[in-house]
Amino acid sequence: MTSLFINGKRYKIDVSSDTPLLWILRDHLGLVGTKFGCGIAQCGACTVLVDGKAVRSCQTFINDIKDKKVTTIEGIPESHPVKKAWILEDVPQCGYCQPGQIMQAISLLSEKPNPTDEDIDNYMSSCLCRCGTYQRIKKAIHLSSQLMSSKRGKK
């Protein structure tokens, strides 16, 4: 039995140590918002946060997340500035890669609250979108940054 801390909840789970976090989330915990895209950390669809930093859950294992906080798309409230910005910019098309894109964007903004276009290009280029929503993702990240700074300003 291993204890995992996901979206603020404690889960006890019995899986082999080589099981990727992606499949623990999807098959064992029913958190299917995190998507399978490639299985080899080439597409970013399975991105989740571990202690606030984006990782590919298809290449993350129990030993990597012991005593760490995992956040999936289900753990981000709809009122989060990034989700809000995604809705305002009407980003998704098929929507399949978007949970991963959003998690990657949250990680970027935690490192760089006011990213430049180049920062976004560098950080987001590991997350593929076959529908080609990149232009809107970029706009939504800039908007998220604005929403976040106005929120900080209010505090």
């Binding site: 082999s16 099981t19 990727p20 499949w23 999807r26 098959d27 064992h28 029913g30 299917v32 918002g33 995190t34 998507k35 399978f36 895209g37 490639c38 299985g39 080899i40 080439q42 597409c43 669809a45 999936t72 798309i73 289900e74 709809e78 989700k83 995604w86 809705i87 009407d90 980003v91 998704p92 098309q93 098929c94 929507g95 399949y96 890669c97 978007q98 949970p99 959003i102 976004i120 290009d121 560098n122 987001m124 280029s125 590991s126 997350c127 593929l128 979108c129 076959r130 529908c131 080609g132 929503t133 990149y134 232009q135 809107r136 993702i137 970029k138």
Partner: protein
């Protein structure tokens, strides 16, 4: 009509109750806070597409698959316009398989493709909305004992202006159900449209942003097992023998089943099945196809391209005129096999229960998939219930007339008699066939003394997509598969002598339509070569096109709009190149101007794409813009990176590291301009794709003088030495 829907609903509720998963139920039915299906006591079902509950819920039953192209927004907009209800209140229920939901242009097939959803539903859904509105008005007027002409509908209410009375749609459900459907439906005049034509945010955005949208791969039913299939390394190879011993030892592996397409490993979850498959020892009888190679194929194709094929188009005497031409040019072009690679890999869940079966999958081809499963399971198709989920991208791959991913799941379910979901890995998807075919083109043009384009000869070589499918008869004429030559046999340029012919060799590589189908290669060749002809004539490629399109006002208008917005007449800054292309597909006219630059290492940057489209009347301008951006990215991925190659019968690519797609850092700035039109709506899902490859290749030519005749673009060749 009503019975059919109610039956399927009852069946659905029954399975829902068995499964007890609010997740799944929520996808098809409105749910309350406890996750239980909220079944309204009374429902008004005026036709196959609309359900109005006594609690004022409005559910639309949509017979098109949502794969990112926005039909769960644009189609409700058509109904909301005529029904006079608020768009935000609408819930969507994917249609069951039933003839009432057949595609209005495809005969007895329910499906989504060919950029045809809005066009084919344009009258049908507006009429459905108007009929419901008239019935609700009649119901209210009977209650109020006034003339129906004194009543109107607005935002989900029927209103009697004089008495200021109003009743919500929900409160009229019972009465409206007794009203006869109207015989004569007059649709709203476009100048009174309130919904159609307004930029509208997609209705499914929130659930997609929250990770709540359920794709086929996400559906779960109690007792469900997961299967992965070991498919042949060479197309058409058969299992000679296999040893399951080690695979069965893998934790969680439960069954190993041989099926026609290979060996299925069935386990309690994905990871167990994946490891189990890795431990399988299979001996394959690879057969004839082990000699196949795309390099060899290219040699065969280029030889064929120098012989005449079946004639697809003949105007005048192109061959004779070409011989006499003052100036002439001949070139050969080639494009590779391409994988669709939707982000959601293929999958299909089937629950087979002796006398019936339930299928959950993201498909674009409901009727054929349902029928294929029914035939394998020896069931009456009426006893096979297919539920269409969201599609994590389709691009044609999920519209397979051969029903590959559904048939395979049916074979496993038949043996297992337990709910089983087959999931493809990315490697399975990329190696699994059904590609956009490889094509080889030979093309010639002749100019007269005045520099006018006088003759055009075009030979195309490539596999037929529709051969052996239910679409063959409708799409093949005199041996010509129209999907191989579309965009080439119907070029708009005023050329007196045209000859287009086609070779459709049989090759044992499974092929399929790929976003924009034939246009994906013909536009590249025609629009690159017209540039070559312009260069030969020493004319500006934009002016050269304009002159040849003077009797084609729609082509001209998008061409001029794109050129104007791109500032075509202004000179470009040093180090940049600009290219233009125009193409009509799926009823829509699209022109694009691409701007490129190259750094010293030969790295190509497509910095900007200006896109102009005339797609007839626009339903949702936001969707049109999004689809143009999407098509441009899809076409760019193919032009810059896309290539499936085969050696010793085996596909050489396996995942996104060697079958690359465009990333954020290569995304150009895209601007979309829409031509205002009052004509019938046309396609937008695909028409953005065809012009982009020639536009960037023409831009590269303008910058470097190097003509790209082979895709993907070989960046090494572009290095400035």
């Amino acid at each position: 009509m009503t019975d059919i829907i109610n039956l399927s609903r009852r069946d659905f509720l029954k399975t829902g109750a068995i499964m007890g998963t609010s997740l799944l139920l929520g996808f098809y039915m409105p749910i309350d806070s406890e996750g239980k299906a909220k079944v309204t006591s009374k429902t008004f079902s005026p036709n196959a597409f609309i359900r109005i509950g006594s609690d004022d819920t409005i559910t639309l039953i949509i017979n098109k698959s949502e794969m990112g192209q926005g039909v769960y927004t644009s189609l409700p907009m058509l109904i909301a316009e005529e029904l006079e209800c608020e768009l935000s209140k609408i819930k969507i229920q994917p249609a069951p398989v039933n003839p009432i939901y057949n595609h209005t242009e495809w005969g007895a097939i329910q499906g989504t493709g060919g950029s045809s959803s809005v066009r084919s539903c344009w009258d049908q859904l507006r009429k459905a909305g108007a009929a419901a509105r008239l019935m609700l008005i009649n119901a209210a007027s009977q209650i109020w004992k006034v003339d129906p002409s004194e009543c109107r509908a607005e935002k989900g209410f029927i209103i009697h202006e004089k008495s200021k009375k109003r009743l919500s749609f929900g409160s009229l459900v019972e009465k409206a159900s007794t009203v006869e459907p109207p015989n004569n439906i007059v649709l709203k005049s476009p100048d009174t449209f309130k919904v159609i034509g307004k930029p509208t945010k997609h209705l499914d955005t929130k659930e997609k942003v929250n990770g709540k949208a359920i794709f086929g791969i996400d559906v779960k039913v109690p007792g469900m097992l997961t299967a992965l299939v070991a498919r042949p390394p060479v197309f058409g190879a058969k299992v000679k023998s296999y040893n399951a011993e080690n695979a069965m030892k893998v934790n969680g592996v439960m069954h190993i089943i041989q099926i026609p397409s290979g060996v299925a490993v069935v386990a309690k979850d994905f990871w167990s099945a994946y490891n189990g498959r890795g431990a399988l020892d299979i001996k394959w009888d690879v057969g004839e196809n082990s000699k196949l190679s795309t390099d060899e194929l290219k040699i065969t194709y280029s030889r064929l391209a120098n012989t005449e094929g079946l004639i697809a188009k003949k105007d005048g005497e192109a061959k004779e005129q070409f011989k006499k031409a003052h100036k002439k040019i001949t070139a050969e072009y080639e494009v590779p096999y391409l994988s669709h690679s939707p982000m959601e890999t293929l999958n299909c869940l089937i629950d087979y229960k002796e006398d019936r079966a339930y299928i959950w999958t993201g498909t674009q081809m409901q009727t054929l998939d349902r029928n294929a499963a029914a035939s394998i399971l020896n069931l009456d198709p009426q006893k096979v219930f297919l539920y269409t989920t969201y599609l994590g991208g389709g691009f044609g791959r999920r519209a397979n007339p051969h029903s590959d991913f559904v048939s395979e799941a049916a074979h496993i379910a038949k043996e297992l008699k337990k709910p089983v979901k087959v999931i493809w890995s990315r490697q399975d998807d990329i190696k699994g066939g059904y590609y956009r075919p490889m094509y080889y083109h030979k093309i010639s043009a002749g100019l007269d003394e005045k520099g006018n384009l006088n003759s055009w000869l075009h030979t195309i070589v490539g596999q037929s997509i529709v051969k052996g499918t239910p679409f063959e008869q409708a799409l093949t004429k005199n041996g010509i598969d129209k999907t191989s030559t579309e965009g080439a046999h119907d070029i708009p340029y005023e050329i007196p002598n045209i000859h287009v012919d086609l070779h459709s060799p049989n090759v044992n590589i499974p092929v399929l339509w790929w976003r924009s189908v034939g246009h994906s290669h013909t536009a590249f060749v025609v629009e690159s070569f017209i540039d070559e002809a312009a260069h030969l004539a020493k004319k500006d490629p934009y002016e050269f096109r304009k002159n040849l399109l003077k009797n084609q006002p729609k082509y001209l208008s998008v061409l001029e709009l794109a050129a104007e917005k791109a500032g075509w007449k202004n000179s470009l800054e040093k180090g940049k190149g600009r290219g233009i292309a125009v193409h009509k597909s799926f009823g829509s006219y699209v022109a694009q101007v691409a701007e490129v630059s190259l750094d010293r290492s030969g790295k190509l940057k497509v910095s900007k794409v200006i896109c102009a489209i005339d797609c007839g009347r626009v339903i949702n301008p936001s969707t049109v813009e999004a689809q143009m951006e999407s098509g441009i990215v899809f076409g760019l991925s193919a032009a810059l990176f896309g290539s499936i190659t085969i050696k010793d019968g085996m596909v050489e690519q396996s995942n996104f590291h060697d079958y690359q797609i465009l990333t954020m850092k290569d995304m150009p700035k895209v601007e979309v301009y829409i031509v205002k039109s009052n004509e019938t709506p046309q396609g937008v899902g695909e028409p953005g794709v065809p012009p982009i490859a020639p536009a960037i290749c023409n831009a590269i030519f303008s910058l470097t003088g190097k003509r790209i005749r082979k895709l993907p673009i070989n960046l090494n060749e572009l290095k400035i030495t």
